[in-house]
Symmetry: C2
Subunit: 219 residues, 2 copies
């Protein structure tokens, strides 16, 4: 499958490399066609990896991963172009973490809105599915490095898109539990997990942890 990965940071590189390993053709998109990190990644990741602008990548991909930071995601997606996103599943991994005032970060949008919703509103023809934003990049594609049961969440308005994303998360990335929270407004809930996530990371001195929702044993 042809897949766009928007963003050349740790998340984009980790997801991109995994997708290439799975046999997909991946184009990493950046602000410029000559982004050094994207070029280096494409050079290392194999013949199925390439890079270009956000628009190049989005035009190439049948499926799009938004791996840009939540504060710049709308800008990046505008550069990708609404026509290049229309009709496609857009997996949004971003979080609106604002470190401009230091640690702990605040959220640049929260409570009655979310980045997931902002993206869906601005690109109504894209099928936005928010997921993977509650775990560290390594865990995203290696959930089994944590023992036992632990969970991913998913938010989106399109049932078919969520079914496809569930397949990607479980069959491609190895997730066992994916909780469909509902429509894209439920992204408020997962983006607002970040404030405790950031504190737990500080406490544990490691980003390798995850949430599990414990329910009564079914008799």
């Amino acid at each position: 499958m042809k897949i766009a990965v928007l963003g050349s940071g740790v998340v984009g590189q980790t997801i991109g490399t995994k997708l290439v390993e799975l046999g997909h053709d991946v184009k990493m998109g950046s602000r410029t066609a000559t982004n050094a990190k994207a070029a280096e990644w494409a050079g290392k990741a194999g013949t199925r990896a390439s890079h270009g602008t956000f628009a190049d990548a989005a035009a190439f991909g049948e499926l799009v991963f938004n791996c840009t930071g939540g504060m710049v995601s709308l800008d990046a997606l505008r550069m990708a172009g609404a026509q290049n996103l229309a009709g496609k599943i857009l997996i949004d991994i971003s979080n609106p973490l604002d470190f401009s005032k230091g640690f702990p970060p605040t959220l640049s949008v929260c409570n009655d809105d979310s980045v997931g919703e902002q993206i869906q509103r601005e690109f109504p023809d894209a099928k936005v599915v928010k997921t993977l934003n509650t775990v560290n990049a390594i865990l995203m594609i290696n959930p089994s490095i944590l023992p036992g049961e632990h969970d991913l969440f998913m938010s989106g308005n399109d049932a078919d898109a969520k079914a496809m994303v569930r397949k990607i998360l479980t069959e491609w990335f190895g997730w066992k539990i994916v909780i469909d929270l509902g429509d894209i407004t439920t992204a408020r809930g997962t983006e607002q997990l970040l404030p405790i996530w950031v504190r737990l990371m500080g406490l544990f001195k490691s980003p390798q942890f995850n949430f599990h929702i414990v329910r009564p044993a079914t008799a």
Copy 2:
């Protein structure tokens, strides 16, 4: 021990009854000395149970539980009186859930502040410890109704107060895992768990669930 329980709703009644059963003397505080729910509770809960105004209860208690709603907690605590809270551990269970615009609720304070911090700022001589706000009332005092490991969080500025609260949570209420997130600003993280909590409750059609933080197995 003499304990004040501020608030006569489900949380206050559940905590109050448990404390009486444990052999403590509990005064439930309400806006008025003649609150019907508080009177009914005191009548049923046994001779160690009594009720009165917020101020009556706070004056009585050596330890204070804030079981009022987060949107009215500051008001209730002002009625309780700073002099009646000074030097005491104040266990804050409140959440700033605002249902005024319907479902899902928003938070009346979040992101760069929290109810826990508001209370600590307004009552600097109280030792505010935020905890129990991430679980349903029944679970607060019956954690074993959920199988396996699941967690409580705790936020507060005073180490001795947190040590005492940990004792209360583990020895009195039966909690096995209590994660000390840090100072009272970390209450932002647990109060912002409510948006996903509310959605999970809707999805599961039950409030009987809890968060567990899964970490790598220690080799």
